[in-house]
Symmetry: C2
Subunit: 450 residues, 2 copies
C-alpha cells in the first residue's frame, strides 16, 4: 500500500473530474493535485454512440484524453474503496491518500428498471456503461448480429439507434409517445422521428417492454404490454443513469432527492472540505428549482469549474442557479438542440408562458448553395417576458445557436432584450439580419402575448 499526501484529491477522471482538476490548478497553482481513475483507458462519454457507427467506428478513436496535457496533475489508477472524511484519508486497493480537500467526481452508472434487473446477466443484453472495456465488449459482440432492440428514447438510445442502423443493423427503438421527450415538444420531436423512420429505423413508440423473452442463456426478444413481441439478437437498455454514490454514502455524506450527493450552490457537501461535481451530485432545475435528474457533461463541467475555484475560498457570489438542461444532438443531417423547459414541462409546472416559433433559412439569400431550413421555438414567462426555454432544429450551427438561447436563459434576459439584440449575420454563415430566427421567435412570443 502506497501512502501519499496531497492537497487536493479528486476521485474520478470523467469530464467533471478532469475539469475540476484543471480549474483547481488554475486557481491554486501551488497546491498538489491527484486524480484517481479506475481504468487506464477512458471513453469520451458523449462519443460512445459514434463508436458503433462509421463516424468513429473504433473504441480507440473515442479515447478520453485523460491528461497527457495536464503536467501539474498527478494521475493514479486505482479504485478507491473507502473515504474517512474526518481523518481525511481515501483508501484504494494500492494507495492510501491523505488529502486536505476532496472532490467526488464518481459520475453515474446505468439505471435498469427492476423488471429487467435479472435480464442484464444474459450474454446479449447490454447497458451502456462509460467504460472502455464495456464499450469494446458491446462493439465486438454486435459484429455478427443483425436485429437490435433498444429500450429507451433518450438521446443515448436515439443516437445509438441511428449509428447501428447506419452500419446495416435492423434497429427497433422502444419508448414513450415521442422520442427525446424531456428536451423537445411534440411539434419538434416528430421532425426527428420522421428522419429516423426515413432511414429505416423502427420506432415502437407509446409501447412499453413488459418482459425480456429468453431462450437458454440468451434473450430472444421483447414482449410488449400490448402482447406483441419483437425479436432481437441483441437488446440494449438505454433507460437512463443514476448517480454513482456508493462510496460517498458509505463515507456518511448526505444524499439529495434522486440519490445524488447533496451539495450547496458552491458544490460543497455538508463538510466544507468535501465537494461533489458531475453526475454523482444532486442537481436542481434552473427554472423550477426542483430536484433534477438531468445528466449532461456540460452541466458537469460548469459544476466542476465552480468547485475547482471554490476549494479554499468562495471567490464569486453564485446566485440563482441549477441545470438549464442544455443539450444538442444530430439526427440524420439535422441538428436538434434544446435548453431550459419545454412547453410540455411548462404546462406540468403550472408556468404562465407564451411561445414563439419561427422557421427560416440558415443562409441569406437562400440561393446560397448549402442553405437549409432552421427553426427556433422559444418559451417565455408571460408576465416578465423572461426566456425560460428554447428548441432549435437546423444545420450544424444549431449546436451553437442553442448556446445563445442558453446564455439568454442563464442571464435572465427577456424577449424584449432579444428583440433588439445585435447579431452578426453573414450570407455564408447565418440567417439574414431581417429574419434571424431567435429574434423572430421572440417577436412571435410578443405577438402571442397580446
Amino acid at each position: 500500500m502506497n501512502k501519499i499526501t496531497t492537497d487536493i484529491l479528486i476521485i474520478g477522471a470523467g469530464p467533471s473530474g478532469l475539469v475540476a482538476a484543471a480549474t483547481a490548478h488554475e486557481n491554486y497553482p501551488d497546491k498538489t493535485i491527484i486524480v484517481v481513475k479506475e481504468d487506464q483507458k477512458g471513453q469520451v462519454p458523449c462519443g460512445i454512440p459514434y463508436v458503433f457507427g462509421e463516424i468513429l467506428n473504433d473504441v480507440e478513436k473515442n479515447a478520453m484524453p485523460c491528461g497527457g496535457d495536464m503536467p501539474n496533475i498527478t494521475k493514479i489508477v486505482d479504485t478507491i474503496q473507502s473515504v474517512d472524511i474526518d481523518a481525511k484519508i481515501a483508501t484504494g486497493i494500492e494507495h492510501s491518500i491523505v488529502f486536505d480537500k476532496l472532490i467526488f467526481a464518481t459520475g453515474s452508472i446505468s439505471f435498469v428498471h427492476p423488471s429487467f434487473e435479472d435480464a442484464v446477466i444474459l450474454e446479449n443484453v447490454f447497458t451502456i456503461e462509460k467504460k472502455y472495456e464495456e464499450v469494446k465488449r458491446l462493439k465486438e459482440y454486435l459484429q455478427d448480429k443483425q436485429k437490435v432492440v433498444i429500450i429507451g428514447t433518450g438521446f443515448i438510445g436515439v443516437e445509438l439507434a441511428e449509428q447501428l442502423q447506419s452500419v446495416g443493423k435492423e434497429v427497433t427503438i422502444i419508448g414513450g409517445r415521442h422520442i427525446l421527450a424531456n428536451s423537445f415538444d411534440v411539434d419538434m420531436a416528430i421532425k426527428a422521428e420522421e428522419i429516423m423512420r426515413s432511414k429505416g429505423i423502427r420506432l415502437a413508440l407509446g409501447q412499453h417492454a413488459k418482459t425480456i423473452l429468453r431462450h437458454d442463456n440468451r434473450a430472444r426478444g421483447i414482449e410488449l404490454f400490448d402482447g406483441n413481441t419483437i425479436e432481437a439478437d441483441v437488446i440494449i437498455l438505454a433507460t437512463g443513469y443514476q448517480p454513482n454514490t456508493q462510496l460517498a454514502q458509505e463515507a456518511g455524506l448526505k444524499l439529495a432527492r434522486y440519490g445524488g450527493i447533496w451539495v450547496d450552490e458552491y458544490m460543497r457537501t455538508r463538510n466544507k472540505n468535501i465537494f461533489a461535481v458531475g453526475d454523482c451530485c444532486g442537481r436542481r432545475d434552473f427554472i423550477t428549482r426542483d430536484p433534477s435528474k438531468v445528466m449532461l457533461a456540460s452541466t458537469s463541467a460548469a459544476e466542476a469549474r465552480v468547485a475547482g475555484s471554490s476549494l479554499y475560498q468562495l471567490k464569486n457570489l453564485k446566485g440563482f442557479n441549477g441545470t438549464i438542461a442544455i443539450f444538442s444532438t444530430m439526427i440524420g443531417d439535422r441538428a436538434f438542440a434544446s435548453a431550459g423547459v419545454t412547453q410540455d414541462r411548462a404546462e406540468e409546472e403550472n408556468i404562465d408562458y407564451v411561445t414563439g416559433y419561427f422557421e427560416g433559412m440558415n443562409r441569406h439569400p437562400s440561393t446560397i448553395g448549402d442553405a437549409s431550413k432552421q427553426s427556433v421555438k422559444l418559451i417565455a414567462m408571460r408576465n416578465s417576458g423572461q426566456v425560460i426555454g428554447g428548441q432549435v432544429i437546423g444545420d450544424k450551427e444549431a449546436g451553437e445557436i442553442i448556446n445563445i438561447i442558453g446564455l439568454a436563459i442563464e442571464a435572465g434576459l427577456t424577449i424584449h432584450n432579444i428583440i433588439s439584440l445585435q447579431v452578426a449575420t453573414q450570407p455564408l454563415l447565418t440567417a439574414a439580419p431581417t429574419t434571424y430566427p431567435i429574434i423572430k421567435a421572440a417577436q412571435n412570443c410578443l405577438i402571442a402575448h397580446r
Copy 2:
C-alpha cells in the same frame, strides 16, 4: 402626382426599412404602412461580393426579397425628393405622401477619398453601390477583364478579392498594415492574410494608393506612395460608406458626428414623429460611447426593431446601448468573426483590459471526421471582468459563436459568469465540454488578470 395618406411612412427598402416596416406592423397592426423604394429590384447588401464569384454568380440570385411576403405593407417605387417635416408631407417624382410618422431608412452610399473623386468617372473605376443596376454593370464589365486592383481592406474589399480570385482574376488588394483592422487584432488578422496569400491574392499591405494612373478615359493602374505602380484593368474602391442623409439634411434634421442623422436611444430625431434607422443614422459605440462609423445590417435591423415598436409610444426602457460592431465573414474555408472592441482599440481608448486566448477543436473527440481548429480571443475589463470584445476563427459555426459573445457583451456579463456558463456540447457539433473555447478563453483572461 398621386396624393396618398398613410399612418407610417418609411423611406428606403434595405434591411432597416423592411425590418422597421415589419416591426411597425406587428406593433401597430391597425396602422397603414407605406415603404418607398427607389428601385423595383434590390440586392441583399452583404450578398453582393458573392455575386462576383461562384457562390451566387448572378445578380438575380442575390435579389432582396422586398416583400412579396409582407401583405400588410404597401410598397411604392419612387424617389422622395423633399420632406416637409412640419406639414408631414414627403414628395417624390410621382407621389405626394401625407404621413403621421416617418422613418428615414435611406442607408449609405460609398465613401470616396477626395484624391480619387475625379477618378470614379473613368469607365473602369468602380465603387460598390447597393443597387441592382450598379452591381450588374460591374459584374458585366468584369467579364473579360483580368487584373483587378481593390483599394480597401475592410470586409467588402476582402470578400470581393476572394470571390474575384476564385473565378480566375488576378487580384491585388491595397490597404493598411493588416486586413480587417477594425475587427481583428494582428494575431488573428495574419491568419486571414495567410489564407488569402495561399490562394494567390496579392496583398499590398501598409501601402497606400497615391494616385490613379490614366490613359485616355481609362485607369491603367495605381501609383503607390512608395513610388511603385500596380497595373489594373479594373479598379474597385472599397473604402467604406457614408450615411445617405441629403434628404434628411434638406428637411432640416440635425446630423450627428460622422454625418448620420442624430437620433436618441429610441431612434427618434429631435422631432418625435420622425425616426431614423440603419446606416443613415448617427451611431455610438456600445463600449466607449463614442460616435461610431460602424455600418452593419445586423445593427441596422436592431435599430429598426426599436424604432418600429416605439413609433407611437415607448414600450421598453432602452438602457446603455450603441453598436457592438458584431460581424462575421468567411475567408477560404474559415469563418472569422468579431464583436465589441479589439485589443488594439482597447489600447487606443485607454481601457484597462485583460485578454484570454484559446485554440481547440470544434468537435470531440478530435477524431470526428470534420473536426477543425477553433480559436477564441476574449477582451475583458480588468477590474469588473466585463466582457468587452471577442474574436473567433473556426468552421461555419463560428458565425454563431460570435453571437454568444455578442450577447455576453450586450448583457454586461463578466468572465466569471462565462466560466460557469452551461453550454450544450455534442461530439458532431461542438468542442468538448472540458475545452469549450469561450469558457477556456475566459479562464485565460482570469489567469492574465492575476
